[in-house]
Structures are given as structure tokens and as C-alpha cells.
């Protein structure tokens, strides 16, 4: 299958990725090639085959419900680009002035 530039733009928007025009062109070609290759899976009849999400036959555990120390606020905020009043600082959600 051949992905169009519009489809690439749609995927990039879903993935929150800004792409240059060159990148859009390149990814349209490369992703199309890879998806063509992936289409060989259609050779296999899998209607009766259960999907494998995990290779191990296990159930997720719940931890014991008791207090334990977490990361300090300084540790959590320490890698952020911007903070203010002990919180992450972000640009305005709807645009306009900060």
C-alpha cells in the first residue's frame, strides 16, 4: 500500500510529531515499503489463533497496600525544563499570554 502525504501528516499529528516537508516525503515512501513487507502476514490464516500479548502465562500482581516513600518533589521536578512554585510549568493550553 502507498501512504499519502496527508496520511503521514495525520499519523504525525496523532503521534505529536512535527515533520519537515522532506521528512513527510521520506516517511511516506519508507513506511509504505515497510507496510508492504508486513502485508505478507496476510498469507497466514489466523482466525482461530489467539493473540499473544505476553509470552509468559502470568497474571499481573498487586503490590501490598502499605505506605512507602516515593520520590521527593525535588527529584521529580529536577529534570523538568521549567518549574514554578514546585510545579511543572507549561505553556498555555489554549494559546495566548503565559
Amino acid at each position: 500500500m502507498k501512504l499519502t502525504i496527508e496520511e503521514v501528516e495525520h499519523i504525525a499529528a496523532l503521534a505529536r510529531l512535527e515533520l519537515t516537508e522532506n521528512e513527510k516525503q521520506r516517511y511516506a515512501e519508507q513506511l509504505s515499503d515497510i507496510l508492504d513487507y508486513a502485508a505478507r502476514l496476510d498469507e497466514l490464516a489466523t482466525d482461530q489463533i489467539p493473540p499473544t500479548a505476553s509470552v509468559l502465562d502470568m497474571q499481573l500482581r498487586l503490590r501490598e497496600d502499605h505506605n512507602r516513600p516515593g520520590l521527593s518533589q525535588d527529584d521529580v521536578l529536577g529534570n523538568a525544563a521549567k518549574t514554578q512554585d514546585d510545579q511543572f510549568k507549561v505553556p498555555p493550553i489554549f494559546g495566548g499570554q503565559e
Binding site: 503521514v8 499519523i11 504525525a12 499529528a13 496523532l14 503521534a15 505529536r16 510529531l17 512535527e18 515533520l19 521528512e23 516517511y27 519508507q30 513506511l31 515499503d33 515497510i34 507496510l35 513487507y37 508486513a38 502485508a39 505478507r40 502476514l41 496476510d42 497466514l44 489466523t46 489463533i49 489467539p50 493473540p51 499473544t52 500479548a53 505476553s54 509470552v55 509468559l56 502470568m58 499481573l60 500482581r61 503490590r63 520520590l71 521527593s72 527529584d75 521529580v76 529536577g78 529534570n79 523538568a80 525544563a81 521549567k82 511543572f88 507549561v90 505553556p91 498555555p92 493550553i93 489554549f94 494559546g95 495566548g96
Partner: protein, 492 residues
């Protein structure tokens, strides 16, 4: 005395215990070798010489003050792949988006070896977020293969494998999501383990493909890998996918006999297009094991050819979810914040992720998107079941499976960079083990006509790392390939 940088893990431990040298002497020797070779090999993204020497001094002091109750690996230096968190040390995942990220905690697998007494020398180079087969996708620099610095070391644990091969660390952590321990081991002539999924904790491993990621170890021989793996493996309550099974004692045979062992040789791994010398060396290694008493049995893993498309749908799908957390708010640099939140997200991610990471995020996003989920991701999960069943069936007849790791020996820089599909084909023999979750042991079995290493992998049933270590060790008792090391040429 033998040059300190040439020592194996076991020789380091023995020498430190016997007082032949101190941890400070050993660490200093390795740091000096790093100084002299790093400009050619580029194995490290972050070096921590001061921390390493301080830890070595503390280890030496502990040995003097508390000789009767020492942690077993006290004073042993090693390197950590830069996708594993190490508290207080820059951890970038080879990405600009985590430039200057300082983790506030340490990955469990690393912490266990720290508790056993090891000393980290620094963080080794990797393809960005462990996505790649050549370490060319690192946002910072490409690691060079110590056997021939015009060639790649493999990936994504290329920095770790190159560092071990160049004798600038006795061992190094690697991670293996689709072959990232085994393939660089093959390209660099080192020995490494990709464990059973769930055997080593993924806590503190910066996630790529959550149902595939494993934390492994690279060293110079099987005995060293087994020694280190003994301490790093095991259940971790902090990782929900960690398996609650006891870790057996990884005892190794004293003789090279493989009598009674049944080795499966899958026809699907010896395909057209494989470099003839790779096939020849792997088949010769199997013949060698027969000489040692094993029986080689032709087997079939009929869905092998589908592993590549399955992996390149499932792993990117998981990656697209895992990498959604890099948004410029909590970690790393931030771009495009002059307008609004949306612009900040897209510009930060669009400009700070590299081309391969963006390609996989887009592929995964597409495979999970409305209208395509069943056709791509759902279908891949079903075929993954068939691949896993192939292994289950094979292990009813044989003890281990022997196969090539990569179709070729180490290739030149830039050879596949314009053609992602060609690069992905390099992983064709390693991906099935990750999809089935089975362990794989990689070790050298010869060289090609250019003198480049050829590796072989042994795959075993879930949680049978012990068996892989026993077989690999017996082979290394009978052969010398693991004892060959490159003479790194300083070109400048």
C-alpha cells in the same frame, strides 16, 4: 603480571581477592585504556572516572577493614548501557530528548550488581532508545568496531560490545529487545546473554518494547557472563512482569563433554543470502559440538520468516506508547513553547527524536490507529502465537537450538542507513527469540576472510539460561575463539 585490562571478570575477582592488585589499580588501568582508545572506539556516552575511582577506593578500604564479609564482586569495574538508569549519572538513551537527564534512582538489574560490589565506569553508547542494529542511530556519535574501525559494532548495545572487545571494560550491561545483545556480540566477538523475558527486572530500563525488552550482560566468555548473571537475575517486586521463580545456581561443567545433548538446527536460519562464511562457521561450531558428544538434529521453525514483520509491528506499537511520555514537560529540553502546548509537544518531539525513532513511532501509531489495529497489530499478535508455538514444539525434541545471529559479519558505516528495511533484515535471526520470550546465548565461533568475528546463538526453553551457559562453556573449553581480541588501530 598480565596486563590488568586483559583480565576476565573471574581473573579480576581472583586477583582482587588474592591482593595481586587493588581495585584502584584495576580501575585506573581501565580508565587509562579508555583515555587512549576512546577517540577511535567511541564506546561511552558518559564516563564517570571520579566516581569510579572513589568507589574503587571504598572497595579497597572495605577489603581491608572487613575482609571476612565482603560482597562477592567487590571492586570489579564494569560499564552500563545508557538505557539503564544509574542514580545521579546522566542517562540519555542515546537521544537528544533525554540530554542531561539525571535519574533519581537506579535500575534493579544494575543495583543488584552494585550491591554485589561492582563499580560503574560510565554509560555506553546505544542506538537511540535501543532502536537500531548498528549504533549509528545514537544522537551523539557512532561507536566503531574495534576489529575494524570503518565498520559498525552492531546495535543497539554496540557501545557495550565494543567496550568489552576493546578491553576497556571486563563486562558491560546490554539490553535485548530484538537482538541488541546478541547481534553486537556477533559483530564484536564477545559473549552475551539475552535472558528469558521476565528473568531480569525491567525496572529502571527506559522502555522501548515492553513485551520484548530484556536486560542482559556482555563479557569475554560464558563463565564471566554466568557469574554476573547469577547476581543480576531474579524476581523484582518493582516490575510487574518480573517472574517469581528462584534463580538456580549457574554451575558450569569442568569437562567439555556434551554427551547426550540434542541440538536443534533450524533449516529456516540457513537461508539464501546469508554470508557463506557465516554459515560455514556456524555449521563448523555445531560439528565441533558433535565431536564433543552432542547430537545435531534438523528441525523446523516454520514461521521464522514472519518474525520480521511481526516484530516491526509489535515493537513500534509498544514504542509509540512508551515514548509518548517524552513531551518536554517532565524530562529533557523543551522547544517551541512560544505559542501553545500543542506546538511545544510537536516541536519538542519532532526536533529532538532522531529519524529512526520517529519512523518507529509513526509505524506504531499507524498500526494502532482506528481502522488498522486488527489488520496490523492484532494480526501480528496472532502470528506471534504461531512463532512461540514453533519453539514450544521444537523444545519437545531438542534441548537447545543453534543458529546464526546475523546474516553477515559487521558491515561498513552507512551501508544500510538509507534503506531501513535492509537494516531491519539484519535482525531476521534474532527477533524470533524475543517474540517467543526464550533465552539466547551469543558467542564467537570464528572469523570471516576479513578477520571479522562470526557469532552463533544458542536458544533454550524459557528459564533454561543454566543449560545455555553449560553448553556454551563446554564449547569454550574446547575452542579458543573467545580468546581472540582485536588490536585496536589508532588511526590519528
Amino acid at each position: 603480571m598480565t596486563e590488568l585490562t586483559s583480565l576476565t571478570v573471574q581473573a579480576c575477582i581472583d586477583g582482587l581477592r588474592a591482593g595481586d592488585f587493588s581495585s584502584v589499580e584495576l580501575t585506573r588501568a581501565l580508565l587509562q585504556r579508555i583515555d587512549s582508545l576512546e577517540s577511535e572506539v567511541h564506546a561511552f556516552l558518559t564516563l564517570t572516572p571520579d566516581k569510579a575511582l572513589a568507589a574503587a577506593k571504598a572497595a579497597d578500604d572495605l577489603r581491608t577493614s572487613q575482609p571476612e564479609d565482603l560482597p562477592p564482586l567487590t571492586g570489579l569495574p564494569l560499564a552500563v548501557k545508557d538505557v539503564l538508569c544509574l542514580e545521579g549519572v546522566r542517562t540519555t538513551c542515546g537521544s537528544k530528548i533525554l540530554k542531561n537527564f539525571i535519574p533519581p534512582f537506579t535500575a534493579t538489574a544494575v543495583q543488584r550488581l552494585l550491591d554485589a560490589g561492582v563499580i560503574p565506569l560510565g554509560k555506553t553508547n546505544t542506538d537511540e532508545f535501543a532502536m537500531g542494529s548498528s549504533t549509528e542511530n545514537s544522537a551523539y556519535e557512532s561507536t566503531h568496531n574495534p576489529w575494524d574501525t570503518t565498520r559498525v559494532p552492531g546495535g543497539s548495545s554496540g557501545g557495550s560490545a565494543a567496550a568489552v572487545a576493546a578491553r576497556i571494560t571486563p563486562a558491560a550491561f546490554g539490553t535485548d529487545t530484538g537482538g541488541s545483545v546478541r547481534q553486537p556480540c556477533s559483530f564484536c566477538g564477545t559473549t552475551g546473554i539475552k535472558p528469558t523475558y521476565g528473568r531480569t527486572s525491567r525496572y529502571g530500563l527506559i522502555a522501548y518494547g515492553s513485551s520484548l525488552d530484556t536486560v542482559g550482560m556482555i563479557a569475554r566468555n560464558v563463565a564471566d557472563v554466568a557469574t554476573l548473571f547469577q547476581y543480576m537475575a531474579g524476581f523484582d517486586p518493582l516490575d510487574a512482569t518480573s517472574v517469581q521463580l528462584p534463580v538456580p545456581e549457574y554451575t558450569l561443567p569442568e569437562t567439555d563433554s556434551l554427551k547426550g545433548l540434542r541440538i536443534g538446527v533450524p533449516e529456516e536460519y540457513f537461508i539464501e543470502g546469508i554470508q557463506p562464511e557465516v554459515e560455514m562457521r556456524v555449521r563448523a561450531a555445531i560439528t565441533q559440538m558433535e565431536v564433543q558428544g552432542a547430537t545435531a538434529v534438523p528441525i523446523h521453525l516454520p514461521h521464522t520468516e514472519y518474525a520480521l514483520p511481526v516484530y516491526y509491528l509489535i515493537a513500534p506499537a509498544e514504542a509509540s506508547a512508551n515514548l509518548a511520555r517524552y513531551d518536554g514537560i517532565r524530562f529533557g529540553p523543551r522547544l517551541g513553547e512560544g505559542e501553545d502546548l500543542w506546538h511545544m509537544f510537536t516541536e519538542t518531539r519532532g526536533r529532538l527524536f532522531g529519524p529512526e525513532v520517529k519512523r518507529r513511532i509513526m509505524l506504531g501509531t499507524y498500526a494502532l490507529s482506528a481502522g488498522y489495529y486488527d489488520a496490523y497489530y492484532g494480526k501480528a499478535q496472532k502470528v506471534r502465537t504461531l512463532i512461540k508455538r514453533d519453539f514450544d514444539l521444537a523444545f519437545e525434541d531438542v534441548d537447545v537450538i543453534a543458529a546464526p545471529i546475523a546474516p553477515t559479519t559487521a558491515f561498513k558505516f552507512g551501508q544500510h542507513t538509507d534503506d531501513p528495511l535492509a537494516m531491519y533484515l539484519e535482525d531476521v535471526f534474532t527477533l524470533p527469540a524475543n517474540l517467543a520470550g526464550v533465552p539466547g546465548l551469543a558467542f564467537p565461533v570464528g572469523t570471516d576472510s576479513d578477520g571479522m568475528p562470526v557469532g552463533m546463538q544458542l536458544m533454550g526453553p524459557h528459564f533454561r539460561e543454566d543449560l545455555l551457559f553449560q553448553v556454551g562453556h563446554a564449547y569454550q573449553l574446547a575452542t579458543q575463539w573467545h580468546e581472540s581480541w582485536p588490536d585496536v588501530k589508532i588511526l590519528n
